[in-house]
Point group: C5
Chain length 86, copies 5
């Protein structure tokens, strides 16, 4: 997994029907000292995350396994980070 | 998934026969502030996307799952973005 | 696999229930001359690694295979490095 | 898939026996304006590509699916690009 | 696959039991003009490669397929490069 910050969300009316009902959040990966990278990933939320929260994201086939649904998903939020001890 | 902009298309007469009939679009990933990266991905369109549109792209084995066909595909467009709230 | 250094750990109360009980360590990949990259990966520990140790990390579907559990995991620590001869 | 240019080939006498008979081509990914990256990928040719041609490359488990053989392959050439309209 | 140079090896006494007996080599990917990147990958040797040799490396699930063993492996050396014609 990697650590990211939820910075927004995506609205897509026209999409694969298996994505209907999924919350699509925009996540920026964090590097050391919690700096945000300028890349963005769209992850499906599995734990009730909100904008501004720091989260754990899994990618690839693991994301499909995380959601447990047959949908075209390659990134999923699987945890909300309380604290990082570094 | 990541967010990208469709910037063109590819014509390939000589190709794997399972790709015949697939629309092959060139997508540039977007970073924050909707800036385009200079990398290009060729994604198979699953939702009727057109040039200039901002789309959701899945990659890897998820792309094959998205299309639901047995073809050599590792990137697929699964949604058209209406708005990003960041 | 790649070589990384364990620099901390993550506490996440709200997470996928299949992650409960997993030790989530923050790892920085090492490049040549053992310099640390500034990226961070959260890996599930499978060998009893501790903070400050240099470890072997596998990623992707291999991480799930490493742990042998049905959990949303895409990075796992599978060895503790004693020495690197370079 | 991504777009790349075939810049050479690899000769490897000592290799996994399942690779015997495979044509191993060196491909440089192209970024916008058809500039070549300085990275190199070795891809197995599935469509009769030659040096200097611009091709479509798939990677990861998709490459094994593309070739349809049980060989240790993670990149395959699945099309020859006639034109890119950007 | 990508092309890399074997620059060393890793000793790890404490590791996943399925890795016991595997030769763990440190590989630096090569870019054009055979320059070495400063990243390092630990790959399991399947062809008898030695330090200083230029090799073909596969990654991800392909590496597990290459070795044909049920071990937590995501990079494998599947060939020794005799010549590159670029």
């Amino acid at each position: 997994m990697y650590i990211g910050k939820v910075i927004g969300n995506v609205v897509a009316t026209k999409k694969d029907s298996r994505l209907v009902g999924s919350k699509l959040l925009i996540v920026c990966p964090l590097v050391r000292d919690s700096k945000e990278k300028d890349t963005m990933v769209v992850a499906v939320d599995a734990v009730g995350a909100g904008i501004g929260e720091v989260v754990l994201v899994v990618k690839g086939s693991t994301a499909r396994a995380a959601l447990g649904i047959d949908a075209p998903i390659d990134a999923a939020i699987v945890g909300i980070v309380d604290t990082m001890e570094v």
